[in-house]
Amino acid sequence: MRKYFNNKLAIALFALPSLFIYSIVVAYPILQTFYRSFFEWDGLGEADFNGLQNYLMFFKDPLLGTSLKNGFIFAAVLVVFQIGLGTILALVCSDPKVKGRKLLKTGYFIPVVLSVTVVCQLWAAIYDPTNGLINKLFQMVGISYQQNWMTSPYASIIAIAFVNAWQYMGYQFSLLYAGVKSIPEQYLEAATIDGCGKWTAHWKITLPMMVETFKFCFIIAITSGIGAFVQMLIMTSGGPGTSNYTLTYMIYRYAFTESEYGYACAISVMLVIISLLATLIINRAFDREKFSH
């Protein structure tokens, strides 16, 4: 085995094709995006260097406030539903006494494999203000509250974020479940012997020991939320107006409808920076040493 890993030339050569493809398909476009963000460019013709003008425009853009706000709301909804609910379900499914655990585990993952278009159309029908399931259920049980879920300036972003949370909760659940199962049973057995209740044991032992799993899940949820796009595009086209815009939607608008590719590249760079900042904050918040006993 050692001999195999000592053969660096062979390793390098075998890795070369993949590295080559990665460089062309991933690394080069990223570098180009950063480079082009300093230009005024329509995507086709000559690019004019304009320094930091695109970045200054970004901070003055009237769409920025709405996009950032929506991104953080989206991330918050994902955290609550995907991680919060996912953790509870993972803990429940880890208990051998729960009947139908296998069926539940499979069931939670089914929405993940569905097409995002199908899921969005399904929820668009559920959210319909006149004939949708939710408003009809309210009517059936005598609740007078009716909501126009996808046009309300306050409810629509939460409603759309919930669609993503619902679809990919199974993915987070599978990560969290793996995290729960990776904890040696001796710790929980010792806690039980010492008279600790099940949920107290989870709170004091399981969850702190899952800090690395939570860190990863939070990074996925928050960066997905900040850069959300697909559900807005399919369900409301970012509307009504621009009320459901996010940073990614801004990139789409400026690049593909206004042909301002240079500015769109600058927004992409800012999106990456914001996501990296979020990742840094999460890493600090979930510093392992804080949670070790």
């Binding site: 080559f20 668009a124 309300s152 300036p153 509307g239 009504p240």
Partner: protein, 440 residues
């Protein structure tokens, strides 16, 4: 020895894989370069031209097939290879341009013309013999379809200036006791209450597509300002003129009166048209091209009306100022085509024959060019009414705006259709973009 062989074979395999991946990029998957002539060695020199054209339903397939069949008689040495148009905001074409793979002929509009002009991917057709002939045969009022705002010709249009009208269900109107036509905003508000009392949606609108809410707003704005959007696309106009503020207030009043379905901004064309055709909505807004579908689905039970105005006098005076934009569009020619003469001639010919089909076979008079053949198809009653009553009396169309201003109008007119967005916010947002774009 064996190990050495294995090692050498492994290195060789890795190198072969790498080389084959690099080689893949140089030979395209379709194995042909669109602008190359095929059969150079053939005595007849067939010229193959790639054409990016609309070809997705009967409305687009039949005129195109007709035009191609006529082209075979006129230019037998030219063979057209169809690359179907995709409704993606011009992205496919722009990708072609970026990769140096432009079709020889392509159907596009002014927004794309500008982008391709700046990147030198489109031919200026000003001095072509075909252009002079086209100008001579142009239907009056369609100059803006051929000549772009910068004074140049980039494409040969086939359709005339299209516009939107309000279709209405005669039976629903009769049963609700609403007089036709609705001439004023106040009459419209009264009608809304009558329809709502009967559980009928007053106006079905596919406002998931922002352009239609823009059209509705523009239809009302033209009553206040007959020059339309041309007025706000001028340098120095940094505040929204009063006419457009009034139109925004009118849309808001109508929204508050209940003109639109609660889910209007999430309704697509199929849903909105179904509501109208099934008698669940009293009115429907769409272009005059909807006449054929409306007639087919509703027979004599459907007709159209002009947009209402603030009072009857204004309604009568502005009836023939229509909300079509008339921006330049049509079949353009790539600057990188290797067969310029054939491509220009073919583009102009296809546009003419496309228009000819629409006029003769569909009885649609809204085409760019005069057609010297008689119409063989009988135009539907609603189209007959357009031909006799409206087309001879058209006084003007709305002008166009820049893509940035257009996007903001799209966003904010869609916003006007929902609760919680005021006409003041509309004005504020428009003022911001006008200040940004029109500052001298």
């Amino acid at each position: 020895m064996r190990k050495k062989m294995t090692r050498s074979l492994s290195i060789l395999l890795a190198l072969i894989l790498t080389m084959s991946l690099a080689a893949c990029g140089s030979s395209g998957s379709n194995g042909e370069k669109p602008n190359e002539t095929k059969g150079d060695e053939a005595a007849n020199q067939t010229v193959k031209l790639r054409i990016y054209a609309r070809y997705f339903d009967d409305d687009t397939k039949k005129p195109y097939d007709y035009a191609v069949a006529e082209l075979k008689k006129e230019m037998p040495n030219v063979e057209l290879e169809l690359d179907p148009y995709v409704q993606d905001g011009g992205q496919k074409l722009k990708t072609y341009a970026a990769t140096g793979n432009m079709p020889d002929i392509f159907d596009a509009g002014w927004n794309d013309f500008q982008v391709f002009k700046n990147s030198k991917n489109i031919l200026e057709l000003d001095n072509e013999a075909e252009t002079a002939a086209f100008k001579k045969d142009l239907n009056p009022g369609n100059e803006a379809k051929l000549i772009s705002p910068d004074g140049h010709v980039y494409g040969y249009p086939y359709s005339g200036i299209e516009f939107q009208v309000l279709y209405y269900n005669k039976k629903v109107f009769e049963e609700a006791g609403v007089q036709v036509p609705i001439k004023t905003i106040d009459e419209w508000k009264e009608a809304i209450q009558k329809f709502k009392a009967k559980g009928i949606i007053p106006l079905s609108i596919f406002a998931k597509e922002k352009w239609i809410s823009n059209s509705l707003y523009k239809g009302l704005a033209m009553k206040e300002e007959p020059k339309g959007y041309g007025v706000i696309n001028e340098p120095g106009v940094t505040q929204l003129p009063d006419a457009f503020k009034t139109a925004a207030e009118q849309v808001k009043e109508l929204q508050e009166a209940g003109l639109f379905d609660a889910n209007a901004t999430n309704t697509n064309y199929d849903q909105a048209s179904a509501l109208f055709y099934q008698g669940k909505a009293a009115m429907f807004i769409n272009g005059q091209w909807e006449i054929y579908s409306a007639q087919k689905n509703m027979g004599d039970n459907v007709d159209w009306m002009y947009f209402p105005a603030k009072d009857e006098a204004t309604y009568e005076n502005t009836k023939f100022y229509l909300n079509g934009t008339g921006e330049s569009s049509g079949y353009a020619v790539s600057a990188t085509t290797k067969h310029k003469a054939e491509a220009v001639k073919a583009a102009a010919f296809i546009a003419r024959k496309y228009a000819e089909y629409k006029y003769t076979q569909l009885g649609n008079p809204i085409v760019s060019i005069k057609v010297d053949k008689p119409a063989t198809a009988e135009a539907p009653a609603m189209m007959q009414r357009l031909i006799t009553e409206t087309l001879p009396n058209i006084k003007g169309f709305s002008g166009i705006v820049s893509p940035k201003i257009g996007n903001v109008i799209d966003d904010n007119t869609q916003n006007l259709l929902v609760k919680g967005f005021s006409s003041d916010q509309f004005v504020k947002n428009l003022n911001r973009i006008l200040e940004q774009e029109n500052k001298k």
